[in-house]
């Protein structure tokens, strides 16, 4: 289900408190933080790295890092969910780099030990039935009242942004997928972001006003 746009900021109020307590070594608060945020962060990681087992390894790294860095989190500078999502995305993007230098080993069948069949069902759904990047971009735009803003982008610009952000593709990968020259794609993404910047700032402001 799609969350209303103000939810990001609203959820952040509670999460700030949990993060502050985790920063002081409060494991119970950290467990609650994990419960509330891990399904979102796993979804974020899976968009970029589709391998369920690797995505869960990344998730583990993310939370160990969050635990270590929690005391340095500054609620005045960043919303907790933004901060957490950034850490998860960065880890996921870094995992792609490692992936390229490592031989790809994927078990043909899941090992029976330690993993239940439910995991694999979820993996299948995510891999096969998750909405496409363009779909997600338009949903996100709708949720944050950005529809008018999106209309300012050409379909190609929109697709390039969606592929980069929601699919975690590099410029070169976007260019390959869209069968367009690299330079064209780079300028599409750059110009799209410049166009969206003002609208996104306005959306953020609305969210903060509603959240308070």
């Amino acid at each position: 289900m799609l969350k209303p746009p103000a939810d990001w900021t609203e959820r952040s109020h509670d999460l700030s408190r949990l993060l502050a307590r985790a920063g002081l070594g409060d494991r119970a608060a950290f467990a609650t933080l994990y419960e509330r945020t891990s399904p979102h962060l796993l979804a974020v990681v899976l968009r970029i790295n589709r391998d369920r087992a690797q995505a869960e390894d990344i998730l583990q790294e993310v939370y160990v890092n969050v635990w270590r860095a929690a005391s340095s989190f500054d609620a005045a500078q960043s919303q907790p969910l933004t901060w957490l999502t950034s850490i998860a995305r960065n880890r996921a993007i870094d995992s792609l780099r490692r992936l390229q230098t490592q031989p790809q080993i994927r078990a043909a069948a899941p090992s029976s030990e330690g993993r239940d069949s439910e995991d694999d069902d979820v993996y299948d759904t995510v891999a096969d039935e998750s909405p496409g990047p363009l779909d997600l971009l338009s949903r996100a735009a709708e949720a944050r009242s950005l529809a008018a803003c999106m209309d300012k982008l050409s379909p190609s610009q929109r697709q390039s942004v969606a592929l980069a952000f929601f699919q975690g593709l590099s410029h070169a990968e976007v260019a390959r997928q869209m069968r367009e020259p690299l330079g064209t794609v780079k300028s599409w993404v750059r110009r799209s972001l410049a166009t969206l910047k003002t609208c996104l700032d306005a959306a953020l402001q609305r969210g903060i006003e509603r959240g308070d």
């Binding site: 746009p5 070594g25 494991r27 979804a43 869960e56 005391s71 330690g114 996100a140 780079k186 993404v189």
Partner: protein, 229 residues
């Protein structure tokens, strides 16, 4: 490159946050962040703009195994790294030795007009390295009605001008609560509401001038003492 140029910082940050910046460029960018406020600000701003778009993703429940593995790793860390708050228990024990001093000092600090006697807490120096704190304890007196705390060091303490002592009430469970900064290790603190409720320890940490920027202790614990209301 001049990373303080706003437009350049903005373009690089956008490239980084949306994720198209890869490989060496990405690592280089990350290594530049600590030293370049303009880059850092631009990155924070782009994160605040773009990350909320991920709210459109359907959540995916991780398998229970993930939390178990995280939990195990934190347990292992805990046994290796003895954090300041864990060392606290040792210092709590040590404060028993200081109780004689407490009794001697109580007479000096008692307000004769108070109906209920004040509670005197001796905060022993923890010996945290290079703190500027002396080995002599700080004595805190909580007024009988629980509204005021007076703190005084036994011997003068010196602290770098860009640092402040901050006094905390540490509950048995949950986060320490700031009672305020103590210039020169001494001060009078108004105890608002139930700020001491559930607390059994007073602790002093070294923070940036004016107190912790986060509302949570960030520096080493230099004095600690146990009490009960």
């Amino acid at each position: 490159m001049d990373y303080s140029r706003i437009d350049l910082a903005d373009a690089l940050a956008a490239d980084y946050v949306i994720g198209t910046m890869r490989g060496g460029a990405r690592r280089r960018f990350e290594s530049l962040l600590p030293a370049h406020p303009a880059l850092r600000e631009a990155t924070l701003a782009w994160s605040e703009r773009l990350m909320p778009l991920t709210a459109a993703l359907a959540p995916v429940e991780p398998s229970g195994d993930v939390w178990r593995r995280i939990s195990d790793r934190l347990d292992r860390r805990k046994s290796v790294v003895a954090g300041a708050w864990q060392r606290l228990s040792f210092w709590r024990g040590l404060t028993a030795f200081a109780s004689v001093a407490a009794i001697a000092l109580a007479g000096l600090l008692v307000n004769p007009r108070a109906v209920a006697p004040p509670i005197v807490v001796v905060l022993a120096a923890t010996g945290a390295a290079a703190s500027g704190a002396t080995a002599a304890p700080i004595v805190a007196s909580i007024s009988g009605d629980g509204t005021t705390l007076v703190a005084r060091p036994i011997a003068p303490v010196a602290l770098r001008p860009d640092r402040s002592f901050e006094l905390w009430a540490v509950p048995t469970q949950g986060a320490p609560r700031s009672l305020g900064v103590l210039p020169g290790g001494s001060g009078v603190v108004a105890l608002r509401g139930k700020v001491l409720a559930g607390a059994d320890t007073l602790a002093v940490t070294i923070e940036p001038a004016g107190g912790s920027p986060t509302g949570a202790p960030t520096g080493p614990i230099v004095y600690a003492g146990k009490f009960s209301l």
